[in-house]
């Protein structure tokens, strides 16, 4: 992308009908380190590549538990991701307090998307610079959603975001037909292999990669 005269603020359309600020926000997601998600009928697995700034610093936290039945992996501006995770946790807790029932994943994702959309239509705001892979379980089964800075959301069987995610996506595209019936262990294995693809030659160790699982009878937790 190149600079142009329509990209100064988010409330300016380009003649081609594009909002460049929103697209630049999606670029920020593409530059972040990879996050991968896959789901079967009963489980959802999230994997992400954790890059530390230097050997002295700790690794970025990119996977957040939102509730016992929902977790997110983020790619992009992790500060924005933290803020959105806090919002999601708040929504889940409030719903649980009123209805004593877990918030259906689909509804949380729509609320999140509507929140992101607001930032694409206010001149004094900027879009969130983070893409979220939301993994969760509810009455209608296991779900994996991807929430964009644009305010769009999609449901996926498997997806990868962030830098060098195309390699992971290629692997997932080959294998995704088997995921619905996969066992928990096979799903985790596939997540690790996909993560290794996006590392492109670097060694896959537990210091570089984080895995989290949520499933039937298994609350969301980082392994």
């Amino acid at each position: 992308m190149f600079r142009n005269q329509y990209d100064t603020d988010v409330t300016t359309w380009s003649p081609a009908g594009r909002l460049f600020q929103v697209e630049y926000a999606m670029e920020a997601v593409k530059q972040g380190s990879a996050a991968i998600g896959l789901r079967s009928k009963t489980h959802v697995v999230l994997a992400c590549v954790n890059k530390a700034n230097s050997e002295l610093s700790s690794h970025q936290k990119k996977i957040f538990k939102v509730d016992d039945h929902i977790g997110v992996a983020i790619a992009g501006l992790t500060a924005d991701g933290r803020v959105l995770s806090r919002y999601m946790r708040s929504e889940c807790i409030n719903y649980n307090y009123t209805y004593e029932s877990p918030l259906p994943v689909g509804r949380l994702v729509v609320q999140l998307a509507d929140k992101a959309q607001v930032c694409t239509q206010r001149s004094w705001k900027r879009p969130y610079g983070v893409g979220l892979l939301v993994a969760g379980l509810d009455e209608s089964g296991a779900h994996l959603y991807y929430n964009c800075p644009s305010g769009n959301y999609f449901e996926y069987q498997a997806f990868a975001i962030g830098s060098r995610s195309q390699a992971a996506k290629t692997y997932l595209e080959r294998k995704f037909n088997n995921f619905t019936a996969s066992s928990r262990e096979d799903l985790i294995k596939d997540a690790l292999i996909a993560a290794r693809e996006s590392l492109q030659g670097e060694k896959l160790t537990s210091s570089v990669c984080t895995i989290a699982v949520v499933g039937v009878g298994e609350p969301f937790h980082i392994l």
Partner: protein
């Protein structure tokens, strides 16, 4: 409480409904109440529906102030509408509605402006039967059989003895009729026009109102003091 709001708090009920009785049975929930609305000691309104279906999965029965029950119906209509507008295959079950109502009732109680009702919330969702109650001070609990008001004292002892899991529909109705008959004999605010409602996985059925047969020829009723202390 500031003096401007003083006149806005609920102080006493005006038109009230008497007991509601409900049980879990084999296929779901059965709930019964009479159709009376009392104005103090006058049995003024005789066709008040005190049991209503809520959404796809729940029944609500109310005793206490009828206008407050109508207000609660408005809250629940809005709740169900918003739930349906998501259009996403998820729906609020009886447990969720019960908890929502508990929050509403308790918060009103905390503001010293209660909704003067005792509510019974029952339903079936995904094969799970649910039956609970919440009253005007926010006390809430679940059980296999529930009653409000005088029903707690007259109907629940019967239910404790005779209720069991796997009651058939006919057995359940007979049991409820037995409870409602005792209430009709002994509760001065009961009227002889009963409404029974059923909730199963398939949905809600409201049965047409009917009257209970009563028997007034019991010798102990006709001659209550025969054999009393000091009589001859």
């Amino acid at each position: 409480m500031d003096s401007i709001a003083e006149s806005q708090r609920t102080l006493y009920p005006y038109v009230t409904g008497s007991s509601v009785v409900a049980i879990k049975y084999k296929d779901g929930i059965l709930m019964a109440s009479d159709m009376g609305g009392s104005y103090g000691s006058t049995l003024r309104y005789k066709s008040v529906e005190r049991v209503k279906p809520i959404g796809k999965h729940s029944l609500i029965g109310a005793s206490g102030e009828i206008s407050d029950f109508q207000e609660i119906q408005r809250y629940l209509d809005e709740l169900i509408l918003t739930d349906n507008m998501w259009d996403d295959g998820n729906s609020l079950g009886p447990k969720e509605v019960h908890n929502y109502l508990t929050r509403v009732m308790y918060n009103r109680r905390n503001k010293f402006n209660p909704l003067w009702n005792s509510l019974v919330l029952g339903g079936v969702k995904n094969g799970q039967k649910y039956l609970g109650t919440v009253n005007m001070i926010g006390i809430n609990y679940e059980d296999d059989h529930i009653a409000t008001g005088l029903g707690n004292h007259l109907a629940r002892p019967i239910l404790r003895d005779e209720w069991h899991e796997n009651l058939s529909f006919e057995e359940g109705v007979k049991l409820l009729e037995k409870c409602m008959r005792v209430l009709l004999y002994r509760d001065r605010s009961a009227v002889n026009k009963i409404q029974i409602a059923k909730m199963t996985e398939e949905g809600a059925t409201m049965f047409p109102p009917f009257s209970l047969k009563t028997y007034w020829e019991f010798s102990a009723f006709k001659n209550p003091t025969v054999g009393a202390e000091g009589s001859w």
